[in-house]
Amino acid sequence: MSQPDSDEIAPLARHDTEPVFDEPWQAQALGLAFSLADRGVFTPAQWSQMLGAKHREILGQGAPDTALSYYEAVVKALEELTCASGELAPDTLEERIQTWRRAYLNTPHGEPVELSAGRAEPQKAGPAG
């Protein structure tokens, strides 16, 4: 990833000029959190508690202290709070994740990826060409 491998001894300031969002999903995840908090699916206080807890959990499992592990915690906190609120069922969520995965695998590179493409079995990866 974008992080140097000597984070533990490096000054914090070396992260000062990094882009805040390395990949679009990171901004998308925060946008989702703000939208759901705005809608009252969870409170800002619940959000910060859960985000802090998930980040500690991920770091406790040995993930490096980087922006990437922070955004992974954002995703986990979102999942836990939306499932706890009853808005999403964990099984439904896992199933949808797999459907999107298949949709990407089934869609030729460069074409728009539609969810419906994931409802078929993935095409076998053939040789190049």
Binding site: H15, E23, Q28, L30, S48, Q49, L93, W100
Partner: protein
Amino acid sequence: MSEHDHKSVGDIHHELHSHLPPDPALRVKAMESLLIEKGMLDPATVDAWVEAYSEKIGPKCGAAIVAKAWTDPEFKARLLENGTEAVKELDGAGWAVAHLRVIENTDDVHNLVVCTLCSCYPHAILGPPPNWYKMAAYRSRAVREPRAVLEEFGVHLPDKIDLRVWDSTSELRYLVLPQRPAGTDDWDEERLASIITRNSMIGTHRDLDPAAGSA
């Protein structure tokens, strides 16, 4: 030997599937699509947030507030008294700031902002926080050894200066009002704003440099 010769079947397979997003990206997409189908989420809301926070809202909003406080003593008094209300006076109203408290640096006091729990931050006036602000190392060290943290950012704070660390929450965010540098007496707000850095409003920068601004 060319790079091409090194390409293994594995590399080719990887390239074929390189457009498969990483796991967290798929998880976000799955949540978003399900919530939209349930009517719990307007896709335009998320897109608007992403666009605003990726491109529009950034430290310039905070710098405009600081520059106004430097040039308008009455506004500064209102800002220090009630930051939440005072920032509504500026253009760009509609900023949802939650509760904002503005804390002033002086010759004798330096302020540093952290969120020890997660990453609470005045997004609406500074944009998304820098990566170091979200790291566990900053969140613990800003409290445990704030002077050492400042040193890493190039701020050598003499012992005689009182260092105050402010812990943000989801209900209360902080903005540091940095000191106006000497030699800027005849500058207008726009020129002043150009020398105000994001870090000076978090507290990891102290002495603003007039030479850094646009003439």
